[in-house]
């Protein structure tokens, strides 16, 4: 039995290398497994965060009190501003901008991670039915998280910046370069960078931007230069980037939709 199953596994690997029917297996896995993962996350998810919750309760309560106070102040300010707005055209334009912004992005929750060693990918609980398309950039407030790799009806898979298969064109100062994942969640490699570029630790790394602003708009924060080994002009200089977002603890993300007129 073991020999037969080993042979079947080997056959699957060969078929996968040839790009054959294993894609159908993945599609079945995504369609059937994605919703199961979403349901399982709502059951098992509290296990993952239970320790953190206990440790941070006091800190979170203090934060909630601060936010409630800030919210109260903002509400008062909002009321004051609303009284000042008597221009119906401006109000309508603001409402239209808000509607456009809601159309431009989808909020989603991370429900599963890739258990393979060194891999950095997650499953989101939103998919094609929510307007997510392949290659869409995935963000949190702190910066870029990754891009959508595959989409099924109710879920989608995101390749994080730190995955070894990930590469993003970036700008560091006045120089263009490429950030490649290595499997380390706290460091990516800065590649194809000008050997004469004078780079220092802490320097901000942002997306270079794609044609038509899709999939990557320019200026999204990717991270900052972490280490620079080797001197100026050294062709073997190795530069690492610390991602702005600690991708292994991300829970909620924003997935951008293609702008009007752009076909993904």
């Amino acid at each position: 039995m073991a020999a037969v199953l080993a042979a079947v596994s080997l056959s699957l690997m060969l078929l996968d290398l040839r790009g054959g029917p294993t894609d159908a297996l993945r599609a079945v896995g995504a369609v059937a497994g994605g919703p199961v993962q979403t349901a399982a996350d709502s059951v098992f998810g509290p296990l993952r965060t239970a320790g953190f919750r206990r440790a941070d309760t006091e800190q979170l309560q203090q934060r909630v009190a601060e936010l409630e106070e800030a919210n109260r102040r903002l509400a008062l300010r909002g009321d004051a501003l609303a009284e000042q707005v008597d221009d119906q055209g401006a109000a309508a334009a603001a409402e239209q901008r808000a509607a456009d912004m809601a159309q431009a992005a989808v909020a989603a929750r991370v429900v599963a991670g890739d258990p393979a060693l060194g891999a950095a990918a997650v499953t989101l609980d939103a998919g094609a039915a929510d307007g997510i398309v392949p290659d869409a950039p995935v963000l949190v407030a702190g910066g870029l998280v990754g891009r959508v790799a595959t989409v099924s009806g109710a879920t989608s898979s995101v390749l994080l910046l730190t995955d070894p298969a990930s590469a993003v064109a970036v700008r560091v100062g006045d120089h263009a370069a490429l950030v490649r994942g290595t499997g380390n969640p706290h460091a990516a490699l800065l590649d194809h960078v000008d050997p004469l570029a004078d780079l220092g630790t802490g320097q901000k790394v942002t997306t270079l931007g794609s044609d038509d602003g899709w999939p990557y708009p320019p200026g999204l924060t990717v991270g900052s230069v972490r280490t620079v080994s080797g001197g100026l002009g050294d062709l073997a200089r190795e530069i690492t980037v610390e991602p702005a977002v600690t991708t292994d603890t991300v829970d909620h993300v924003i997935v951008l939709r293609p702008p009007p007129g752009v076909t993904p």
Partner: protein, 178 residues
């Protein structure tokens, strides 16, 4: 259902829960996590034998390969866990093993599975992480798997025996290899 069918159903449920926990909880921890799936396959193999072990390994491995967001080589995890299931199935009853022996067996098999998957990914596909990233994580993960296995392997064994109605026999036989 016959006692044997109850045992196999229990084993299947244990492996399925392990797969879901691996994806939804352990894969999202901010450090190298234990492979609960490997520990569950070892537990099933030790409780149910050399035939059920590879079958459990194949099913669990295939689930790890095709469920989102996995994008590795389909069949690599399945092959590694078939081997693990076969080898673990040769230990007919883990109750004869001392805790340290069980920890060493589970950690060793987890190391074998992880190293096998990484080697297959490195040789056959692009985009595999380098050894500098994988080896420390693999070492930590294997030791943690061994520790988790101290609870999971006897737990699955007890559940399977209870499902088969053989829990009453509480003797501690010596481990039989072969």
């Amino acid at each position: 259902m016959t006692p044997r069918q109850w045992q196999l159903t229990t084993a299947g449920v244990c492996v399925a829960v392990a797969v879901l926990l691996q994806f939804t909880v352990l894969a999202r921890l901010p450090f190298a996590a234990p492979s609960l799936v490997t520990a569950a396959v070892i537990g099933v193999a030790m409780a149910c034998g050399r035939t059920a072990g590879p079958v459990a390994g194949f099913c669990a491995g295939l689930a790890l390969d095709v469920l989102p967001p996995a994008d590795g080589l389909v069949g690599a995890s399945a092959l590694a866990l078939v081997v693990v299931g076969y080898l673990a199935g040769r230990v007919r009853d883990p109750r004869g093993l001392a805790p340290l022996q069980l920890l060493a067996v589970v950690a060793g098999l987890a190391m074998l599975a992880g190293a096998g998957q990484w080697l297959l990914a490195t040789i056959l596909s692009a985009g595999a992480p380098g050894p500098g990233q994988v080896l420390p994580a693999l070492l930590i993960s294997s030791v943690l798997t061994g520790i988790v296995g101290l609870a999971v392997v006897p737990g699955i064994g007890a559940a399977v025996r209870r499902a088969g109605g053989t829990e009453r026999r509480r003797r501690r036989p010596r481990a039989v290899i072969g």
